[in-house]
């Protein structure tokens, strides 16, 4: 099996005091606890830290562990020398200092092979032999993930393949992050922030317990031209000044197909036109709003500058009248 350098895991020196170790654990536990951590491998790290603390917090276990010497590195092939724990008194996991959790974590105490063979209650026995094995059933944990889609996918529904980081036990008992890929049909009409429930795709249960569910939270990707608010969609439409001022009929491509848009004369910057029911589909479909974004033709030629000059002289216009 592979050696694990618990001091390295906890980021403490080999001569750290018990207080140092306790402090280190508290900080790391808060940092990597999956409910509050943003790290992708939070669960694995948390279990790792918990196991290291389980050994180092107990002076007897720690002394026995220290006996192995400072030269072993994590990952090296390792066999405990016979009689290595002679003279030390310790029993299995969970000899606690009250108030702090052991390495139990939330899916039951699952320690690596390294720990089990050195300190576990089943040490000396082949892995899988459960002393006084008690039947224990529990529903698996729900898992939550986020998936990004283009808001246009909501108009038609879409099939997406997503990858999840799932902590799993390898053959030698280490918890690693495995990548699991799922193909999911995202239904038409889905809104930003809604969750899709995939039954029994969460963490496996214990014993006969069912697996938990997987909840996928939908998040729309930001778009240059569109803003989505609930079921309503707003398109920022660039128009020429004369199209706004004099009115125009424009063909506009929108998510549900092209539409001929009639801009009324007398429109201006920020004028809003409403296309009822052209927002996200659903029992109550949202609306599509077209927001006029008046663009100025560039004054990049003599003719253009003359026209602007003419306008400034012949059109009485004070945009700052109320300042």
């Amino acid at each position: 099996m592979e050696f694990t350098d618990y001091y390295k895991v906890m980021g403490v020196a080999r001569d750290a005091t018990q207080d140092d170790i306790k402090r280190a654990y508290r900080k790391l536990a808060r940092k990597y606890h999956p409910d509050v951590s943003e790290a992708e491998d939070a669960e694995e790290r948390f279990k790792e830290v918990g196991e290291a603390y389980e050994v180092l917090k107990d002076t007897e276990k720690r002394a026995a562990y220290d006996q192995l010497g400072a030269d072993w590195k994590t990952g090296q092939e390792f066999r405990p020398p016979p009689g290595w724990d002679e003279g030390f008194e310790f029993s299995g996991a969970g000899t606690g200092d009250g108030g702090t959790a052991g390495a139990g974590g939330f899916s039951g105490a699952q320690f690596s092979d390294f720990f089990e063979s050195m300190f576990g209650q089943s040490r000396g026995q082949p892995r899988g032999a459960h002393p006084g094995g008690r039947e224990f059933h529990m529903r698996g944990e729900d898992r939550h993930a986020r998936i990004h889609i283009d808001f246009r996918d909501s108009y038609t529904g879409v099939q997406r393949s997503i990858s999840l980081h799932v902590p799993e036990m390898t053959a030698d008992g280490h918890v690693v992050a495995q990548e699991k890929t799922l193909n999911v049909k995202i239904p038409k009409g889905i809104r930003d922030g809604q969750k899709i429930r995939l039954a029994e795709q969460g963490s496996p249960g214990i014993g006969q317990g069912k697996a938990g569910d997987l909840f996928l939270e939908i998040e729309f990707l930001a778009d240059k031209r569109y803003r989505v608010d609930g079921a309503d969609v707003t398109l920022s439409l660039p128009v020429a000044p004369w199209e706004a001022a004099l009115g125009a009929t424009i063909t506009v491509p929108i998510p549900s197909g092209s539409v001929g848009l009639k801009i009324p004369a007398g429109s201006g910057q920020g004028s809003k036109l409403r296309l009822k029911g052209k927002g996200l589909p659903g029992k109550q479909p949202g609306d599509l709003f077209v927001l006029l974004d008046v663009q100025l033709p560039p004054a990049d030629s003599d003719a253009a500058r003359e026209l602007y000059e003419k306008m400034s002289q012949e059109m009485p216009f004070n945009p700052r009248a109320d300042l």
């Binding site: 509050v36 918990g50 139990g104 939330f106 529903r139 193909n183 049909k185 429930r197 998040e219």
Partner: protein, 102 residues
């Protein structure tokens, strides 16, 4: 174990206002009734109604309950601390959404 799971799963849009009873909540979370009562007292869970004499909650209570249980067990936090932690996490999520929307 990097094999693709080729099943195409159809997700159901999850309505978080689906209600569950206290008994169901206890079962799903493997929690004691007494804990649920404490969570209500602390204001961590808000009952939304009655069904056959029991309090009911929105399904969001499942996640909240499990989170509190984990925080208590893993980090030794008491209920008041867990309540605060949940509220701060909610706030962080709201801020994240705001930042996203620019």
């Amino acid at each position: 174990m990097n094999e693709r799971d080729m099943n195409s799963l159809t997700g159901v849009i999850f309505d978080e206002t689906t209600e569950i009873t206290t008994t169901e909540l206890c079962e799903v979370c493997s929690a004691e009734h007494a804990l649920i009562e404490q969570l209500v007292e602390e204001g961590i869970l808000d009952p939304v109604g009655d069904q056959a004499g029991e309090q009911c909650f929105h399904y969001t209570s499942v996640r909240r309950t499990r989170t509190v249980m984990r925080l208590q067990h893993d980090l030794g936090i008491n209920l008041a601390g867990a309540a605060l932690a949940l509220e701060l996490l909610d706030r962080i999520e709201m801020l994240r959404q705001q930042v996203r929307k620019g």
